[in-house]
Amino acid sequence: MPRTDPPPSKKQDAPPEGPARRPSQNPRASRPRLLDEAAAQREREKDVLEDLEITVGETEISLSESELAESQLASAWTDPEPSEHDRVTVAPPMPEQEYVAKMMEELPEAERVPLSRAITPVPPSRAITPARGLSKPPFGADSASPSRKSRRASARPKKKEHEAGPSTKPRARTSRAPVAVVAPPPHQGEPLTLDLSESLLPIAVPSTVPIPQFGPVSVPKFDTTESAPPPAPARPRATFAISQQNSAIDAIAATAGLQSSDRPRFSFAPPSSHALERDPPRLSFRPASGDPLELVEVRAQSVRPGPAPKATMVEVRDRFDVGDFSGALALVVKILEEEPEHVDALLYAEHCRDVLKQMYISNLGGLRKVPQIMVSPEQLRWLALDHRAGFLLSQLDGHSTFEELLDVCGMPPFEAIRLLVQLLQQNVIRVV
C-alpha cells in the first residue's frame, strides 16, 4: 500500500507520537551511555540528512537481520516496540548482475509472471538510498546496537526459532533461493506475516477470506543506473510462483483456521514463451518514470477492482437472514435503482429501514432524549461531515428532543436518525 510517512527530518526533530514511539517503554531507557551514543549518532545522521535530497517517500530498503543489528543506524533507533513501519529491506550482498542471473536461473520458465512494467530489483548495499528519511551508514560499521538487536529479536520470535533450527510452521520462502526480501517483523503475537508484493497478485482476493498482509514494494533509487548494462529479463525479488503463492495462502489460511474451500487460489495462466519472446519483460534499474510515487500509482491501478457485481435478491435475503440489515438495505437500494418497482426489494427495503430505525433509536436512547453538541464551533469545522449533518447540528439548541429535531429537519426520518447515530458515534453530540 502507498505510504505517506512524514519526512525524516521531522521524525528526528520532533518527538513522535503514538504508542509505537513512547520513550517510556524503551527497554534501553536505563542505559544512559548507549542513549548518549545514540543521540550523538542521530546528530551525525541529521547532518548527513541535511545534505541529502531525499525523494524516496515510497521507497523501502531491505536489511537482513544481522546486517541490521550491525548497522550504526540500528543503534540510533530508539523505538521501544517494533512497528510495521519499521520494516526495511535490503539487497543481497552480491553484484547486481550475479544476483539477477541467479534469480533468473532459479525461476522455471513456466512459472514466470509477465511483467506489466519494469520493476527495479534490490540494489547492492553501496547504492542504498535511505527509506523514510533514515540515512544508513555502511554495513559492518561499528556501534552496532545490541539492544536494538535484542529488541527486534524479541519482537520476532518466529525468526529466532528459524535461526535456532528448522521451523515446524510453514514459511513462505524457506525453499527459495536467496531472496533478498526479509519478512517484515510481525507484531508480537501475530502468527505469520508475509512480505508478498501486492503488485504481483493481479487477481482479486475474495472478500470473505482474510487478505494476507502485503508489504510495500521496494523501489530503491540508484545512483549508478546510467552505467549499468542492460539487464536480462529478471524476476523481481518478491515475486512468487503461483504454486508458491498458493502455498503461502495455505499457510495463512491454516494459521487462520480456514477450510481449504475458503482459501483463495491464484489461478492465472503464465505467459507463453512466445509471448515472452515477442515482448520480453524488461528490468530497469530505475523507477519506471523516474518517480517512485508513479510506480505505486500504476500498481494501484492494476489491482483496481472492476465494476461491482449486480446485487441479487438472494444476497439480500442472505444478509437479511444473518441480521446484516444495513448491508441488505444497501443491496436493495442498488436493485431498486435499476428496478424501482421490484416488489420484493421494496418490501425488504421497508423492513430493513424499520428494523434499522428501531436499532438507531435504541442507540440514541429514545426519541425523547435531548441531544447536545459536544464540540466547539471551531472544532466542528474540522470534522468530516456533510451538509445534511451540518444542518442537523445547526438545529440542535440543547433543549429540543430528537423527536422535535425530526419534526423540524425536513429530512426523511430514517435518514435523519441514521445521521444522528453517526454523530453520536463520532462523539460530535451526546445525549442528555
Binding site: 466542528l380 456533510d386 451538509h387 451540518g390 444542518f391 447540528l393 445547526s394 422535535e404 419534526d407 423540524v408
Partner: protein, 608 residues
C-alpha cells in the same frame, strides 16, 4: 376572581401577559422566550407544530407552514390582499365556501381563524402552565386599521381556541396603556411599531382619567424585520456565490440556516459593532465535500444594507402626520414597539424625525401584551379606574350614485353612537333604492369594505331628487351596527342589522371548537402520560440496579425470594401499563414501584 390574560396576536410573533400583584408581566413560553412565533405547521406525519418549532422548519417545510396569517384574517377571497397573498405565500390559499378563504395544509383545509386559534391556543397553554389553573378569558390586540370583520374573525379565533375574548383593543392603544401604566398623563404620543412583518405608526391622545384615543394610524403590512433578514441573506448569498459559484437559495436546508443565522446576526448587531456568521457544512460542493460559510458582518454594513427600509418607515410617519395635520412638535412622546426598534439605526432615525429621543421605558417586544393584560385586569376588577372607550376603527357610510362613498359615522367615533343623513332618489319615478352599507375611509366606494345591503321599496313615483330618504346608522355598546332607511314622506322603512362576520358559520365555529378541544385533550394526555412514564421508568431502572444485591442479600431466605418475585411482578405490571399507554394504570403502578424501590434500598443498606 378569574384571571384574564392579555394576548398580543402579532403577524410574526405573539406574546401573552398577565397582571400579578398589580404588576403586568409577560409569561415566558416553555423555551424561556417571551414571544412565540405566530407560525403553524403540519408535519408529514400529521403532527401540528406551533411557535418556535414551526419556525425552525418554515423553509424546509414551506408548503405546510403558515406564517403571517394575520394578513389574511377576516378578509374575503376576492379582496386584493388575498389575491396578493395567493401569489406571495409559500402555502396554498384556496377559496372557501362562503366567499372567504381557506388554507390547504397537506390534505386538509383550514380557515384563517382556525389557524390563528392554534396560536391563541398555544398562548393559552403557556399561561395555564404558568398559572397552573385553567384560563378562559382574554383581551386580544389587533392593529388599529382592522375592520369589523377582521376583529370578529379574531374573536372567533379566540372562541375556537377555547377563550372568551372579552375585549379587542388596538395595538397602539395597548402600547400606550402599558406606557402610561401608573402615570397620570395628558399628552399626545406616537407609537412607532416596527415588528417582524408589519410597520404601524399611530398617533394617540391620552386624556386624564385614562381615555385613549387613536387620532391617526397608518402603516405598511409588508415591511418588517423579515425584510431586514432578507437583505442580510442577499448579502451572504451573493458573497458565497462569488466565492464558490453556488447559489445557496437553491438548497432549502441552506436557506433555512441562512435565515436563522441572519436573524441572529441582526439581533446581535443591536448591541455589538461586529458579529460573525458561522455556518459550517452549509452545502455540498458536489465533489464529496461540504463547504462552510463564515463572514463577518458589521453594524455599518447592516445599516447600509437596510437604510432604505428605515427611510420608508420615516416616510410613512411623515405622511401620516401630514394627513392628520399634526406637526412633530405636538408629539410629546414616542413609544417604540416591536423587536426591530432595538436597531440603533431605527432609533436614531425615529429620534431624528420626531426631534426627540424615543421612550425606552417599555419593552418593545412585550409592551402590547402588557397593555392587553392591563386592560384585561381592569375589565374584571372594578376597583381599577380606567376608562377605555371603544371607537369605530373605520368610518361607516353608504354607497351613493356614481360609486361614491358617503360617510355617516366618522372613524374613531366613540360608541355607542347614532348618526343620520338624508338622501334623495337619483332617477325619475324611482320606486326602490338599494342601500349598500360600507366601511372605510376612501371616497371611492369600491375601495372600502362591504358590510351589507338592503332594499327600501314602496317609494312614491316622482322626479329624481324629490323623494327624500333618511338613512340612520346606530351602533350599540356591543358594536352591532343597525342601518335603517325611511321614506320621509310615506314613513316606509327598511332596516338591516350588520354584524361583523369572519366568514365562518356558527356551526363551523362549533365544530372547530370541538376539534381544538380534542387536540388539547390529546396533547394534555400525551404530556401527562410522558410524565408518569418517565417517573415509572426511572423507578424500574433503580429497582433493576438494586436487584442483584438484594438477591444476594436474601439468598438464604424463602421470604426474601418471595418478595423478589413480587417485586418483579410489580415491574412487569408497570411495563405492561406503559406499553398500553394507560396513564391511570401507570400511575397506580408507580406507587408499587416506589414501595419496592424503598424496600430494596433498605435491604441493600442493611446487608453486611
Amino acid at each position: 376572581m378569574e384571571r384574564v390574560i392579555g394576548i398580543d396576536l402579532g403577524t410574526t410573533n405573539s406574546c401573552v401577559a398577565i397582571v400579578e400583584n398589580d404588576k403586568p408581566q409577560v409569561i415566558p413560553n416553555r423555551g424561556g422566550w417571551a414571544t412565540t412565533p405566530s407560525m403553524v405547521a403540519l408535519t408529514e406525519a400529521g403532527k401540528r407544530l406551533v411557535g418556535h418549532i414551526a419556525k425552525r422548519q418554515a423553509i424546509t417545510n414551506a408548503e405546510n407552514t403558515v406564517s403571517a396569517a394575520k394578513r389574511l384574517i377576516g378578509r374575503k377571497w376576492a379582496s386584493p390582499q388575498v389575491k396578493n397573498g395567493v401569489l406571495t405565500s409559500s402555502y396554498r390559499i384556496v377559496e372557501g365556501p362562503h366567499g372567504d378563504l381557506r388554507i390547504q395544509l397537506r390534505d386538509k383545509q383550514y380557515s384563517v381563524p382556525e389557524i390563528s386559534a392554534m396560536v391563541l391556543q398555544e398562548m393559552k397553554v403557556i399561561a395555564e402552565d404558568y398559572l397552573r389553573q385553567p384560563v378562559s378569558k382574554a383581551v386580544v390586540t389587533v392593529p388599529a386599521y382592522f375592520n369589523d370583520n377582521q376583529r370578529q374573525a379574531t374573536k372567533d379565533a379566540g372562541q375556537i381556541a377555547g377563550l372568551e375574548v372579552i375585549r379587542i383593543i388596538n395595538e397602539p392603544t395597548a402600547a400606550a396603556l402599558a406606557y402610561g401604566f401608573g402615570k397620570r398623563l395628558d399628552q399626545t404620543i406616537a407609537v412607532y411599531d416596527l415588528g417582524g412583518g408589519t410597520f404601524d405608526i399611530s398617533i394617540l391622545e391620552i386624556g386624564e382619567g385614562g381615555i385613549f384615543k387613536v387620532i391617526a394610524t397608518a402603516g405598511d403590512t409588508f415591511l418588517g424585520g423579515e425584510d431586514f433578514d432578507s437583505r442580510i441573506i442577499d448579502w451572504l448569498v451573493t458573497g458565497f456565490q462569488a466565492e464558490h459559484s453556488i447559489d445557496l437559495r437553491q438548497d432549502r436546508m441552506a436557506l433555512q440556516r441562512l435565515r436563522d443565522g441572519a436573524e441572529k446576526a441582526k439581533c446581535e448587531l443591536s448591541s455589538v459593532q461586529e458579529t460573525e456568521l458561522n455556518l459550517p457544512f452549509i452545502i455540498s460542493s458536489g465533489q464529496n465535500e461540504a463547504l462552510h460559510l463564515q463572514r463577518k458582518l458589521t453594524r455599518e454594513t447592516l445599516e447600509k444594507l437596510c437604510g432604505d427600509l428605515v427611510d420608508r418607515t420615516v416616510d410613512i410617519c411623515r405622511q401620516t402626520l401630514k394627513d392628520a395635520k399634526i406637526s412633530t412638535k405636538e408629539i410629546q412622546e414616542v413609544v417604540l414597539v416591536g423587536g426591530m426598534t432595538r436597531m440603533p439605526k431605527v432609533q436614531s432615525a425615529v429620534g431624528g424625525f420626531f426631534g426627540r429621543e424615543p421612550c425606552k421605558g417599555v419593552h418593545p417586544d412585550e409592551v402590547v401584551a402588557l397593555g392587553a393584560a392591563i386592560q384585561g385586569a381592569a375589565l374584571v376588577d372594578e376597583k381599577k379606574q380606567m376608562i377605555l372607550l371603544d371607537v369605530t376603527p373605520h368610518a361607516l357610510g353608504i354607497m351613493t350614485f356614481g360609486s361614491n362613498f358617503e360617510e355617516l359615522v366618522p372613524q374613531n367615533t366613540t360608541v355607542p353612537t347614532s348618526r343620520a343623513k338624508t338622501f334623495t332618489t337619483s332617477r325619475d319615478n324611482q320606486t326602490a333604492v338599494k342601500i349598500i352599507v360600507m366601511q372605510g375611509e376612501s371616497e371611492l366606494a369600491e375601495q372600502n369594505d362591504l358590510l351589507g345591503e338592503f332594499i327600501l321599496t314602496g317609494l312614491r313615483r316622482a322626479a329624481k331628487g324629490q323623494v327624500e330618504i333618511e338613512v340612520t346608522f346606530a351602533i350599540n355598546a356591543d358594536g352591532i351596527v343597525s342601518v335603517s332607511a325611511r321614506d320621509l314622506e310615506t314613513g316606509q322603512e327598511q332596516s338591516i342589522q350588520v354584524t361583523a362576520s369572519s366568514g365562518l358559520t356558527p356551526e363551523e365555529i362549533v365544530k372547530m371548537m370541538a376539534d381544538a378541544q380534542d387536540f388539547t385533550v390529546e396533547r394534555r394526555s400525551t404530556e401527562e402520560f410522558e410524565g408518569v412514564k418517565q417517573e415509572a421508568e426511572k423507578l424500574i431502572v433503580q429497582i433493576e440496579q438494586l436487584l442483584p444485591d438484594v438477591e444476594q442479600a436474601v439468598a438464604s431466605s424463602d421470604f426474601g425470594k418471595d418478595a423478589i418475585g413480587k417485586a418483579k411482578a410489580v415491574v412487569e405490571r408497570a411495563r405492561a401499563a406503559i406499553g398500553k399507554k394507560d396513564v391511570s394504570a401507570v400511575r397506580e403502578q408507580i406507587e408499587g414501584l416506589s414501595r419496592t424501590q424503598r424496600m430494596f434500598k433498605g435491604v441493600v443498606a442493611k446487608a453486611p
